[in-house]
Amino acid sequence: MDVIVQLQAQFVEYTTSLYREGFLDDQFTQLQKLQDESNPDFVVEVVRLFFEDSEKLLNNLATALQQQCVDYKQVDAHVHQFKGSSSSIGAQRVKNVCVAFRNYCEEKNLEGCLRCLQQAKHEYYLMKSKLETLFRLEQEILAAGGSVPMMT
């Protein structure tokens, strides 16, 4: 029983820190509300979709910004998608970079765009590793026979 309590406390502390540090916002909580016995893997499924989609978008962005003649409309379209998906799962820091990124697109500022791409990559991979840690903690709790605390 001790192990479960310990793991649960770890989970709560970790989740709280993610919110506090701005990695996650309330939308992530909303996602968890949509998970239940009939859809026990909803959050993981959406997040995995997000990972797949984001990595494609980041590649597309890199390619688009490498062109001789950059099509800023196209770049903006990709960033818009990225902003939408990150916002939908509560990936706040990624979303915020996308907001800045769109401004540089509007200004057709190549340097600004390239910087934002780097930042977006950085924030995305950071977010990815943190979410994977979170999911691992959940699995450990479940494996030990405990239940995952609901964060409100």
């Binding site: 949509l34 959406v46 979709l49 998608q81 939408g84 939908s88």
Partner: protein, 217 residues
């Protein structure tokens, strides 16, 4: 036909972003709606039985060869910003279609642009949701779908739901219409006033099904 009251409402969700599609699907299913998702406006029209030019096509999933409704769509919820056909373009096409215009349409957008919101409501959208959409937003859909269902089942008291809201002001504005005109025209007079609140169009009060039978007049 008597089963209609028990069956779930069916919502068609349109969004080009895969994550947002998954989210809206889950939100709708959690709220006990049946859901079909498509990734573009043109696919939505295809599903609804129209081609891109707004022409009816009976050989589509939602309309059987006999032109009887197989899959009824009670509400369409669509993203605004989509490549090709935007949510606004889709809304227009639906409202221009004799067979589909009674289906309530809701627009979603990540951008809070007042002129955009007004434009959509004026074109006939029932609601405009800011993304990310939440579970509480799903409750706002039911009243719009209920209105259409009531019309389907009880055409002779079609006006009842809307009369309650419109009648009182109507008495102050033009009491003569109340006595001299048909009930349909009474609602016609109100459509402009209600435009920004509810997006009612003149045809909404006629006894039509929620969308898929091809009506030949």
């Amino acid at each position: 036909m008597g089963m209609a009251a028990e069956s779930q409402f069916h919502v068609l969700a349109v969004d080009d972003n895969i994550i947002e599609r998954k989210l809206i699907e889950r939100l709708l299913k959690t709220s006990s709606y049946q859901v079909t998702t498509v990734d573009s406006g043109s696919k939505a029209l295809e599903f609804l039985g129209l081609d891109e030019h707004g022409q009816s096509n009976p050989n589509q999933p939602s309309v059987s060869p006999n032109n009887h409704q197989e899959v009824e769509v009670n509400l369409i919820i669509t993203d605004y910003c989509m490549p090709g056909m935007t949510g606004y373009d889709l809304l227009k096409k639906i409202k221009e279609s004799t067979s589909l215009r009674n289906i309530p349409v809701v627009i979603m957008s990540s951008e809070n642009v007042p002129s955009r919101i007004t434009r959509c409501l004026e074109e006939g959208a029932e609601e405009f949701f800011l993304k990310p959409v939440r579970l509480s937003d799903m409750n706002k859909l039911r009243p719009h779908m209920m209105k259409t269902k009531v019309k389907d089942q009880k055409p002779e008291i079609q006006e009842e739901e809307e009369e309650e809201e419109e009648e009182t002001p109507e008495v102050f504005q033009s009491p003569q219409h109340h006595h001299h005109h048909q009930q349909q025209q009474l609602s016609n007079n109100n459509n402009k006033r209600k435009a920004t609140e509810e997006g009612l169009s003149p045809d909404r009060t006629r006894p039509r099904y929620s969308g898929l039978t091809v009506v030949s007049n």
